[in-house]
Symmetry: C2
Subunit: 391 residues, 2 copies
């Protein structure tokens, strides 16, 4: 199969649309959610779990796989699909987000994900990184220049360098269906001048990525930057749209509130080509998804559903359930009565409560199955609403 994107229905009420994204490893109905498999595994799920859940595509992180096991290892083993036993579509990011997060996360205590996760979570993550690296001088960690970025590995502190050329080369070795351009990802704390400079680097790198790419089986998507500044987002949307990318992603700082994020989408999306797919990077809260879809986003990826499961928390239509709480100790009900996932069809809240109290891995497995299914199914209901034109 060749790459293509067909829009089958456009909402009359907003920018939401139904589409079919075709890749060499199969089709994705859009809008859709992409479970994140950072290290070539969606944490705690087997590929057959993912298929049963209804996942049509997974997201893997170039930064992590470059460092471990290495893109050469994966290439020699037949590529990422074969390596991780997943024969459906895969998208890889450019590695940039992790590298820049390492920098601004540690220097400023915020990242894109600071707006998604509680501060405690973010702080403890940063603390872990600091501890691992035994960083004495934070200035040493990430050095950005016009050609790329030099930084230290979060695994062993060795100095590494990532450039647009290198990112594309690694992503070609990994062999995902969709790869992303290397961009400089900014933080909400970066000022206008810095954000502008980073956007200009991103634009220069976008052209290099297109020139570097050699594998015609992979689609390359461009990334819109520009922070939460209207003129920059519009400039970036126009510029990136002018390049021959196969799709577009909205990246970088989306501001400090949901309102700012919606503004960023409203500035950017009308300037992107109607006939190309659009991905909102790293966002996956249920309310963010529906607001993103209404604004014309086709794809979302996020670690929330899998991370919450490891934190003993299930998604439900009543909100997040902290499964270890005593209220569930004797409950014969499933997480969600009308949920068709394996977990809800077979296990009670009391059993999940027990598994988490007993520190059993199965608790994480079963809750991850439910959470990913819940979000995938949420997107399915959104598609049904678009189809009936009542979103």
């Amino acid at each position: 199969m060749e790459h293509s994107f067909k829009i089958s229905k456009q909402s009359s009420k907003n920018r939401a649309r139904l589409g079919i994204l075709t890749t060499p490893h199969g089709q994705i109905e859009t809008p859709n959610f992409i479970p994140v498999g950072t290290q070539a595994t969606v944490k705690a799920l087997t590929p057959r779990d993912l298929k049963e859940i209804g996942a049509q595509i997974v997201f893997a992180n170039t930064y992590h796989l470059w460092l471990r096991p290495g893109e050469e290892t994966i290439k020699n083993l037949g590529g990422l699909h074969k390596f991780m036993g997943w024969d459906k579509p895969i998208v890889t990011d450019s590695g940039g987000f992790q590298v820049f997060s390492l920098g601004f996360g540690i220097e400023q205590g915020v990242g894109k994900i600071a707006s998604i996760f509680p501060e405690e979570d973010q702080r403890s993550k940063i603390k872990d990184q600091k501890h691992k690296l035994k960083i004495k001088n934070k200035e040493n960690l990430v050095k950005i220049d016009d050609d790329g970025v030099t930084f230290r590995s979060h695994l062993d502190g060795t100095t590494l360098r990532l450039t647009p050329e290198k990112s594309i080369k690694i992503q070609e070795d990994l062999g995902a269906d969709i790869i992303l351009a290397f961009d400089e990802c900014t933080s909400p704390l970066n000022d206008y001048e810095y954000t502008k400079k980073a956007m200009e680097r991103t634009h220069a790198w976008a052209k290099i990525c297109l020139e570097t790419k050699t594998n015609r089986d992979q689609a390359l998507w461009g990334i819109v930057q520009g922070g939460a500044f209207e003129d920059l987002r519009k400039e970036s949307s126009r510029f990136i749209s002018s390049l021959p990318f196969d799709g577009f992603a909205i990246g970088g700082s989306l501001g400090r509130s949901k309102e700012e994020m919606h503004q960023v989408l409203d500035w950017s999306i009308p300037l992107l080509p109607e006939d190309k797919p659009r991905h909102l990077l790293g966002i996956g809260g249920l309310d963010d998804i529906v607001e993103g879809v209404k604004r014309g986003i086709d794809l979302f990826d996020c670690v929330i559903p899998t991370r919450l499961a490891r934190n003993q928390t299930a998604l439900s239509s009543r909100g997040e359930l902290h499964l270890i709480n005593s209220e569930f100790k004797n409950s014969p009900s499933p997480i969600q009565a009308d949920c068709q996932c394996y977990t809800c069809q077979n296990f009670s809240l009391a059993y999940l409560n027990h598994l988490f109290h007993a520190n059993e891995i199965l608790g994480i497995e079963l809750t991850t199955i439910h959470n990913v299914h819940f979000v995938i199914n949420y997107l399915k209901t959104i598609r049904e609403k678009i189809n009936r034109d009542n979103l």
Copy 2:
């Protein structure tokens, strides 16, 4: 279905036999291996994983489930089968082994499992227990009298008491198909006099268990004790066989070597009824299994396959593979080329190596699937050999 045991074939070369053990939740082909689900979960496996692997029965630990979540909780939720989502046969132990292990493990640095696992493993386990309990006076931990045993919970140090009556009551609430009599489990370091006294208590308790049991849907199996002393093992085998148990288990100290274990089996088994099933408690090394089968054992349970998986180790016909070793980093081969398990059918040693290096839960899941399948399949090949009379 009612409980029954039918022997379909007897080896002409040794005491091995083929049988069908019928329980209210289904049949078990014997000889067979019982995966251990200590806390109402075979660690890292879903019930459907277990069914696919071919497991016909699982083992759960009364001691752990009594302490957490409590037998009342499980009873109120419809019993252990419903609680853990496993509709096939279950056997529970009496809780005695864990209680006495807590005592002699800590006091003497050995347990039955000391002969199975490396000393380091055993020591670290004991150290953990000591740490958890903040034990100042080890004498306080386990107090045995003729009516039962008083000890402190490994979870929170509260004082608890287990008696034959209590063990049967808990096991009736849990609702397994097969329950075990409450016995006093001795250590290889106990002398003849102590082992004899413990055996006599076990015999008295065996009668109390039979008298206490009220649930006709459960089979109650007796346990032969007597340590590694010939006259005691023979006396215990004769006595326990004389009681109306539905099956028999060989428990307690099996000596300090494989030779001594074989002796214990050769003393005990000829004195047990031919027409009743026989279970060798806590043993499951591959060589121990084949030697046990030849001596007339029908069922084995052991934590080795699941524990090895959590320790990054796979069973194979080439021995144990330490999956994190660098020799596997680039290997496209599965753990075992002719293995039909999900893991070997879909994933390479290189991928498993990566998952363990990356601390991914999926590594444990996939290796557990393989290891349990490997032992279950090993028993299947043993049954085929018995059927051809060439074991």
